[in-house]
């Protein structure tokens, strides 16, 4: 799950009155911070699920952390014709069902891609060069008493296999090229416009890579796509970075491989059962663990709000949403 910072009060608005303004009605199905509320209140009349009018509202704001968009939810709000999701991932949305009912679905497009790509490369550098571990070592005074922390290893020239070459995967590839990494990728189909090597099978991709980056959407096909065979193909010198969804990797198997040195290390921003993480990871020095924050910077939050508002405004003026979910 990912949530907005909890240091600001977050609540679902509880306006139940009939609209007194001309502002279009918007159903809010997720908690919102004050920043969100003030931005939305300026443009829309907000309704919560508890409002008697909720079943007649045509547009709703949703989030993967709080909502599952399935037939039951769509039955509950039968007037919905537009859903805007505050994240990039849409594995919580039954897109087929939405299409069948004529509900447009928008997410936040490529806003997040740069932030996620920056973060993925940072995580990778951190794991390869042991930055977090050496920071902890220095703070504990061990540089003085024990000399240098063990060396990391060189990133340049390493073979990187990207699982999912969407907008995030492409942004990661572009950055890693500047570090002189050699890029290969797996995607549903080859992308003739890119110069990277396409490898159609994930075990082969892992076997030919020093580093695997998981940057794909979570679907039925990609659930546990990184499994025991893939990790073994990646091998003892292999590093894995996951900024997609925890469930793309068989987590218990990953933990076992890390603990037993069957792969060299991992940088993980996502986990199968967030915010719970396997406790075996906590003691390991060959991992970097972060709380699903590859997306989040204050700048990104502001952009997300703007994009969501723009999508609703397009819908309310009879135009198609601006950043419809693209099934790629």
């Amino acid at each position: 799950m990912y949530a907005f910072p909890s240091h600001t009060a977050a609540s679902i608005p509880t306006s139940d009155e009939t609209p007194t303004s001309d502002l279009p009605p918007l159903l809010v199905l997720r908690p919102l911070s004050d920043t969100w509320l003030s931005a939305l209140n300026a443009k829309f009349t907000l309704y919560s699920p508890s409002s008697p009018l909720s079943a007649s509202v045509h547009a709703a704001l949703i989030s993967g952390a709080y909502n599952r968009v399935d037939p039951a939810l769509l039955d509950q709000y039968p007037s919905l014709r537009c859903l805007v999701n505050t994240g990039a991932g849409v594995n919580h949305i039954n897109l087929e069902e939405c299409k069948r009912r004529g509900v447009q679905v928008a997410n936040v497009g490529e806003t997040h891609s740069k932030n996620v790509a920056d973060y993925a490369v940072g995580l990778l550098l951190d794991v390869m060069r042991r930055i977090t571990m050496s920071d902890r070592y220095v703070r504990n005074g061990l540089w003085v008493t024990r000399g240098n922390y063990p060396l990391g290893s060189k990133l340049g020239g390493k073979r990187v296999g990207i699982v999912g070459l969407g907008s995030i995967g492409s942004a990661i590839a572009k950055r890693l090229e500047a570090f002189e990494c050699k890029i290969s990728y797996l995607s549903r189909k080859a992308k003739p416009t890119v110069s990277y090597r396409y490898i159609p099978n994930i075990c082969d991709l892992a076997a030919e890579s020093d580093i695997l980056v998981v940057s794909c959407a979570l679907t039925k096909e990609t659930h546990h796509i990184v499994n025991k065979q893939v990790l073994q193909a990646l091998g003892k010198e292999g590093i894995i970075i996951n900024i997609g969804r925890g469930a793309s990797i068989d987590e218990p198997e990953l933990v076992r491989c890390l603990a037993q040195g069957e792969i060299k290390g991992a940088g993980l921003d996502v986990f199968e059962h967030e915010p719970n993480i396997p406790k075996e990871l906590i003691e390991l020095e060959n991992v970097v663990l972060t709380p699903h924050q590859s997306v989040f910077t204050p700048e990104a939050m502001a952009e997300v709000i703007q994009i969501c508002i723009a999508n609703f405004e397009a819908f309310f003026t009879g135009k198609p949403v601006i950043t419809p979910v693209v099934a790629d």
């Binding site: 973060y119 930055i131 699903h292």
Partner: protein, 331 residues
């Protein structure tokens, strides 16, 4: 060179060239170098260094210097009258009195470009870690705080930050290339503008560079001109959201002032691989959440060590064969 009378089954014995080593040499380095050279190790002698030098080193032509610690200047050179080469395995040579060497026709070689990509990689890693708070986030997750408190406070976007590089040498230009791929516009301060990099903006002084930058990267050599080049005025110009990354030498920054500026919020954060008095790190830094600290490892990976040693061997071989050295220090 010792020779034996040639018979068909007696091998010719050649002495390996002698190379003096004044610092303790680790097993890995020794393993790589000793097949090529007769290593004369001062620290294994019971004699104090001056006596060792005058007794054993009058004919020594080459000195190997590994760690960039100590001072190698006139007083040492006076005791090595036959010296023709100081081969360093570090990138920086601020510990060598290069002028004194030049006056005595002693060549000085360094690690050339062998460390450059790794130093640049580490620089970017430090920057992303500082801006996106990766180190603190990792600690947060391991403490179990993710479950109890909620999400960790946000960092700040990397893409698009204005990057100012102090010293656009080989490391600086490699950093620039990497950060360009992150969508960061690049500016720099150097002794003179670099016509090879027309898309980077030149500033003739560090203060102006700092004013127009969100991030300052220190990747220049430590000289008399660059000592304390980052002072309070520069940090004020950089501003409260500004971040400094130092992979050069600790003394490029006025370190006590840096600590003060971080505490007071004059600047926003720092990623530091080097310190004035390594391995000692100012204690206040170890309590700050907006810094990332590493143990002078920017250049070091096993791969770069191997490359650097090969380069040192190549420099020494060239010297002993009367050929030009491969990676002379230019000043």
């Amino acid at each position: 060179m010792a020779t034996t009378t040639c018979t068909t089954n007696t091998p010719k014995i050649e002495e390996k060239p002698k190379v003096l080593v004044l610092q303790r040499i680790n097993a890995y380095f020794e393993g790589v170098l000793s097949p090529h050279f007769d290593l004369i190790k001062a620290d294994e002698s019971s004699l104090p260094i001056p006596a060792f030098l005058s007794t054993h080193c009058r004919h020594i032509r080459a000195l190997l210097v590994m760690a960039p610690i100590g001072t190698f200047g006139s007083s040492l050179l006076d005791q090595l009258p036959s010296l023709g080469l100081i081969a360093c395995t570090s990138a920086g040579v601020n510990h060598i009195d290069v002028d004194a060497c030049r006056k005595r026709s002693v060549a000085v070689t360094n690690a050339g470009e062998m460390f450059t990509p790794d130093a640049a990689d580490h620089t970017v890693g430090l920057l992303v870690d500082v801006l996106r708070r990766v180190v603190m986030a990792d600690r947060y997750v391991r403490n179990g705080s993710w479950m109890l408190i909620g999400d960790y406070p946000l960092g700040s976007k990397v893409s698009g930050k204005r990057v100012g590089i102090v010293g656009l040498g080989s490391i600086g230009s490699h950093v620039a290339k990497r950060l360009t791929a992150f969508g960061c516009p690049i500016s720099y301060f150097s002794r003179a503008p670099k016509p090879n990099y027309p898309s980077y903006t030149y500033f003739p002084n560090v203060l102006d560079l700092a004013r127009e930058s969100d991030v300052l990267i220190l990747s220049c050599a430590l000289t008399d001109e660059t000592r304390n080049i980052i002072n309070r005025d520069v940090m004020i110009a950089l501003g409260k959201d500004g971040v400094i990354i130092n992979v050069g030498r600790g003394a490029l920054i006025d370190e006590p002032e840096l600590v003060r500026c971080l505490k007071e919020g004059v600047i926003g954060g720092a990623g530091l691989d080097v310190f004035v008095n390594e391995p000692e790190v100012p204690e206040e830094l170890t309590h700050m959440e907006n810094v990332v600290l590493s143990d002078h490892r920017a250049v070091t990976t096993p791969e770069s060590f191997k490359n650097v040693l090969e380069l040192a061997i190549a420099n020494l071989d060239a010297f002993f064969s009367g050929k030009p050295v491969l990676s002379p220090v230019s000043c």
